[in-house]
């Protein structure tokens, strides 16, 4: 039983990062009805930028802020790279193009920063907290990760529900034609969706870097988990992405704890397959059918 609780507790901060990545995928999905497979590549790239800032200034907050800014910009750039050339054609072309961008980002990062894994110093201790006479599988850093994730999720929720920009973005996602007829500049909203997704993924990257390492491919596995969470959550549900992102983190932690960490991706794919068989529209989706 102690094992179970320890494994569970150990999964939260990992789950928070998966939730952020899933949120990024969902925001892109809501904008342009497609999955951006370059999302983790963008996060990897902006995390390298954050690492450079961290190494030269030692200021973690600054590194995080710069990564977010770079995420916004990179999200916008990828939008134009992927969406513009294949405009008016089917989304399949655009989805394949996101794979191209992923490969290009990984190659680019390899050339700039080298292919060897690098460490990213956490701003606070990453050692298990001592409390009530024992060491728990949660560190001060895990708490920071959860706090930053919570702040970002709350911020995004307020943005979407309380601001004119958020209303415009939701309207553009739900019904582009009615949005345009209402005066919303829909194309700008789509770009904004990609940009915010980029920034969200960037935060996820910076948060996960100190507990993994960073290399051009180190976030690939994150894509599997985030994609699983986003799809199970219904692909267009922000709440779904967060809930199942954290849920996926807990499942991975349990699987890794009781068996072996290398089994986690397989379990994620099994969950994904089960979900597509049993409830193909996702748990939180209120829409009809969808195609990936």
């Amino acid at each position: 039983m102690t094992n179970f609780i320890d494994f569970l507790l150990g999964g939260f901060s990992n789950g928070a990062v998966i939730a952020l990545m899933a949120l990024a995928l969902v925001m892109v999905w809501r904008s342009t009805r497609m999955v951006n497979f370059a999302q983790v590549g963008q996060a990897m790239f902006t995390t390298y930028i954050a690492l450079t800032i961290q190494q030269s200034t030692g200021n973690w907050l600054l590194a995080l802020a710069v990564a977010m800014g770079a995420g916004l910009i990179l999200g916008t750039i990828v939008f134009f790279l992927v969406i513009r050339p294949v405009k008016n054609s089917d989304t399949t072309g655009a989805i394949i193009a996101t794979f191209g961008v992923l490969i290009a980002l990984q190659a680019g990062a390899g050339m700039i920063w080298g292919g060897d894994p690098e460490g990213f110093l956490p701003p606070v201790s990453n050692a298990g907290l001592e409390f009530a006479g024992r060491i728990w599988p949660i560190s001060l850093y895990d708490i920071l990760v959860l706090a930053v994730t919570a702040a970002l999720v709350i911020g995004l929720t307020l943005l979407f529900t309380r601001t004119s920009l958020g209303l415009s973005m939701r309207a553009a996602a739900f019904n582009p034609e009615v949005a345009r007829l209402s005066g919303v500049r829909v194309n700008r909203m789509l770009i904004t969706g990609w940009a915010i997704a980029g920034a969200t993924g960037a935060v996820g990257g910076v948060l996960i870097a100190p507990v993994s390492t960073i290399s051009p491919n180190s976030f690939d596995i994150l894509l599997v988990f985030a994609f699983t969470a986003a799809v199970i959550g219904g692909l267009d549900s922000l709440i779904g992405a967060v809930t199942f992102g954290i849920g996926t983190g807990l499942v991975i932690s349990l699987v890794s704890g009781y068996t072996d960490a290398s089994n986690a991706p397989v379990v994620a794919l099994v969950l994904l397959a089960l979900n597509l068989l049993l409830k193909p529209d996702g748990v939180f989706s209120h829409h009809g059918s969808r195609s990936v």
Binding site: R180, L181, G183, R185
Partner: protein
């Protein structure tokens, strides 16, 4: 005032509008009536910027608006309530309304909202509920309300009677007609349901296969038996 001159629109080989000219003065309702496929929705969607015209002119208060984007056309004072349920069910009633005039200042928006709630009290009472909790007639009111939130000088209504009980249609159209007179609004109403449309309109225009076959005072059109038999099918 809205004016179209020799408007031509095609979908590939299909000529939907074939040299259509029309005048929509302020302060009254102009009704365009015609059977299925006459080109009514095409006309409306072209005016709103959703469909590109092949040739001809669209003049709004003397300025050409042909080829502009839908979002600029509505910001410029011409709002379309498209055919069917043109509300966003996932948003609340208040959000659907707010969406209609997001670019305007808060005070201007507030004034429009008061006007809409005055016109359609049910929207005010249910403001915080999701739009999909409304009945068909109420949703049509919401769609019109959303368009009014842009403070238009010209309102385009594409078949508001679709799927609604005749009594409700009459009620809604009479409100719109009163609004046109009271606020000097130009209303272009497109309908298959000729009787109701011509009752609230000042001028009637009969459209057939993309061409105007007759236009004149609404009462005159309504009483023209031949026209009715030939183009309106009743």
């Amino acid at each position: 005032m809205l004016e179209t001159v020799d408007l031509c629109v095609s979908y590939g080989a299909v000529k939907a509008l074939n040299g259509m000219s029309l005048v929509v003065p302020r302060g009254e309702v102009t009704a365009v009536i015609g059977a299925n496929g006459a080109g009514k929705s095409t006309l409306m969607r072209t005016l709103a910027g959703l469909v590109t015209l092949q040739s001809g002119q669209v003049l709004f208060d003397g300025v050409s608006v042909a080829g502009k984007k839908p979002e600029d056309i509505v910001r410029n004072g011409m709002a379309l309530v498209p055919e069917g349920r043109s509300t966003i069910p996932e948003l609340t009633i208040e959000e659907n309304l707010r969406l209609g005039g997001l670019w305007r200042s808060k005070t201007d928006r507030g004034a429009s909202k008061d006007l809409v709630f005055d016109l359609f009290p049910i929207l005010g009472q249910r403001a915080s509920m999701r739009a999909d909790t409304l009945s068909g007639g109420e949703r049509q009111q919401l769609a019109i309300g959303r368009a009014l939130m842009s403070d238009p000088r010209c309102l385009l209504l594409d078949e508001p009677s679709l799927g609604l009980a005749p009594l409700i249609v009459t009620q809604i159209l009479e409100l719109v007609s009163r609004l046109a007179t009271e606020t000097n609004l130009a209303v272009l109403l497109v309908e298959q349901n000729a009787v109701t449309a011509l009752r609230v309109a000042t001028t009637g225009v009969v459209l057939n296969l993309g061409e105007v076959v007759k236009s004149g005072p609404a009462a005159e059109i309504a009483s023209d038996e031949e026209l009715r038999h030939a183009y309106l099918g009743y």
